[in-house]
């Protein structure tokens, strides 16, 4: 449909904006999109809770960066940059449910289908609150610029 060639790098923000810090990935995509002019070969995508749609968003790119709320047993507000091989999922229903579509499994499928980007980076941010609400917790909201700067370093 869109005839514009796909950009080599994609930055995908995942999250549910109605569950406080669960929406951090989407909040960050909004913030990063303000810097679009600095990164003409990068596509910033708010993928919401898109689950399996991530398979299509990363397909045949050179590099993919995924930003998501992550329970990593770290201090709330901590941001960690890692690659898929650095972690294992602890979800019980992973890859068995679209609701709990697991990004790590989706990356595995992408590899099997020979369309996975050479480089995938994941930025996980430890939440403070997952309560119903449209605002980030103060802890995460105050660090939004720092997170964005951190992610931008991986785009240079």
């Amino acid at each position: 449909m869109d005839q514009t060639p796909r950009k080599d790098t994609v930055v995908i923000g995942l999250g549910n904006l109605l569950l406080s810090d669960e929406g951090i990935g989407v909040h960050l995509i909004r913030k990063l999109s303000e810097h679009q002019n600095k990164f003409p070969s990068v596509e910033f995508i708010d993928a919401g809770t898109g689950g399996m749609n991530v398979l299509h968003l990363i397909a045949n790119r050179k590099k993919a960066i995924i930003i998501d709320c992550a329970k990593m047993s770290k201090k709330p507000g901590t941001i960690r940059r890692f690659e898929p091989a650095d972690v294992k999922t602890t979800k019980k229903l992973t890859h068995f449910s679209l609701h709990e579509a697991d990004i790590l499994r989706i990356i595995a499928i992408s590899r099997q289908l020979d369309e996975c980007p050479e480089q995938i980076l994941i930025f996980g941010i430890e939440p403070e609150s997952l309560e119903v609400g449209q605002k980030l917790s103060k802890t995460l909201a105050e660090k939004l610029d720092l997170y964005a700067a951190d992610i931008c370093k991986s785009l240079s």
Binding site: A47, K71, L113
Partner: protein
């Protein structure tokens, strides 16, 4: 017959959200047989209160990551009814195109990623990739076309941004619609390939029947296999098509101990919604290719095998693609116009109803004179199917009690999955441990 069977599936896999299957058979007697839904309530009806009539469709799209377009459309229709807003013919057709993109997205997801592993005897789609890579690639391609289609009309794949009360904020160009039409035409051979593959393993679809009430939309003017317009009908109520505002008289929601989701019943003690319900009430109005697809699977009007819902979804994939090719022709013949949408608030109540991929969906809202929402009521298709799943269980289990426990379990799980339930889509966060 086994004297004792104990099945506790916590939680069933390859469905949206959490549901449990509990079976206790002692000395050949069924002591407990339950389809349980333990999901926490979502509170969306409370969440929208106080918000402007212009924001409702955006908020409720977050109910689901699979059928977000459907929820947005139902909400928008309800808001337009409350505000007395009319929609242009062009916007109406574009909305139907948008809605069809989601039907294809959701059906290919269910048929390809969630149900296919049962037919092929694999636990999930992940090992299926290794076993049948070409098939999975074809499914992924069809799903990708549907996603791009949503991007074009809805502004993005999930959680549409172009939909507003009164119309759409964006009109695709003629060039974009021609490209979409080409891609849809190119998708037909892929759909045929998927149908052939599913047909080759159709022998694994359990043969089970239970006379059932099927509830769906029905459109009589003009007669259409509808997902969007029309009123409410059922095979128990053929002569009548109820206006959608009467949906409370259809759903008759009630509370049961085994489920945090409400159950529904109309003429019987349960009813089913979804692709098979739409097929049973409207099959004669399907597109030619969809009718052909139904024929090769032996799917006929009156089918009351719930496992065939997956086949009905596949049939509908052909229908939405073939019909959309025609709709694009109609739009291009008439010529696309840029439309400016304006609206102003007023006090009022309105109902909106569309067919989600999983079945009929109802939204109701009430607004004050400033257009702020003061009340909301949403009734989702999966909620309407819960009682029917329980009734299916009660007929099915005695018929298969002589089978191995693992086979009993699989058939019960497959039955739930056939309904393509969307029990909840509230969170999805990563849960990880570092290994290095």
């Amino acid at each position: 017959m086994h004297n004792n069977v104990n099945i506790n599936v916590h939680h069933i896999t390859r469905v949206e959200g959490h549901g449990n299957i509990v079976v206790n058979v002692k000395e050949g007697k069924i002591e407990k047989l339950q389809w349980q839904v333990p999901e926490a309530p979502r509170f969306f009806e409370a969440m929208v209160r106080g918000h402007s009539y212009q924001d409702i469709q955006t908020i409720v799209s977050r109910i689901c990551g699979i059928c977000s377009i459907t929820h947005s459309l139902a909400a928008t229709k309800a808001v337009e009814s409350a505000m007395g807003l009319k929609v242009s013919e062009q916007a109406d057709k574009l909305r139907i195109l948008m809605h069809y993109s989601e039907q294809l997205q959701s059906h290919t997801l269910h048929v390809g990623y969630l149900a296919a592993p049962d037919f092929f005897g694999t636990p999930s789609v992940v090992p299926l990739v290794a076993r049948a890579k070409d098939v999975v690639k074809t499914i992924v391609k069809a799903h990708r076309i549907a996603n791009n289609w949503s991007d074009l009309i809805a502004g993005r794949t999930t959680h549409p941004v172009t939909l507003i009360p009164g119309g759409l904020t964006k009109t695709p160009t003629e060039k974009q619609l021609r490209q979409l039409q080409k891609e849809l035409k190119d998708a037909v051979p892929d759909l045929k390939k998927i149908a052939e593959v599913v047909l080759s393993v159709a022998g694994n679809i359990p043969k089970f029947e239970r006379p059932t009430e099927y509830v769906s939309l029905k459109q009589t003017t003009p007669p259409t296999y509808t997902f969007y317009h029309g009123g409410i009908t059922s095979n128990d109520n053929k002569s009548a098509v109820l206006p959608i505002e009467k949906w409370h008289d259809v759903a008759n929601e009630f509370v049961v101990e085994q489920s945090t989701a409400k159950w529904a019943k109309w003429h019987r003690d349960a009813y089913a919604v979804g692709a098979l319900a739409r097929f049973n009430n409207n099959a004669e109005l399907l597109s030619p290719m969809a009718k052909d697809a139904a024929k090769i699977f032996g799917l006929e009007k009156g089918c009351c095998n719930p496992y065939m819902n997956t086949v009905a979804q596949l049939v509908e994939c052909f229908h939405v693609v073939e019909t959309s090719i025609e709709i694009i022709d109609q739009l291009l013949t008439k010529g696309l116009k840029t439309e400016k949408i304006t609206s102003s608030p007023r006090a009022g109540k309105g109902s909106g109803c569309v067919e989600a991929p999983r079945g009929i969906l109802f939204h109701d809202y009430e607004f004050d004179k400033h257009g702020k929402c003061v009340a909301a009521d949403i009734c989702i298709p999966t909620g309407q199917n819960h009682a029917n799943i329980q009734k299916d269980f009660e007929k099915l289990l005695p018929e298969i009690l002589d089978q191995q426990e693992k086979d009993i379990r699989l058939k019960l799980e497959m039955l739930v999955r056939a309904y393509d339930p969307c029990i909840s889509c509230s969170t999805h966060f990563l849960n990880v441990q570092f290994v290095r």
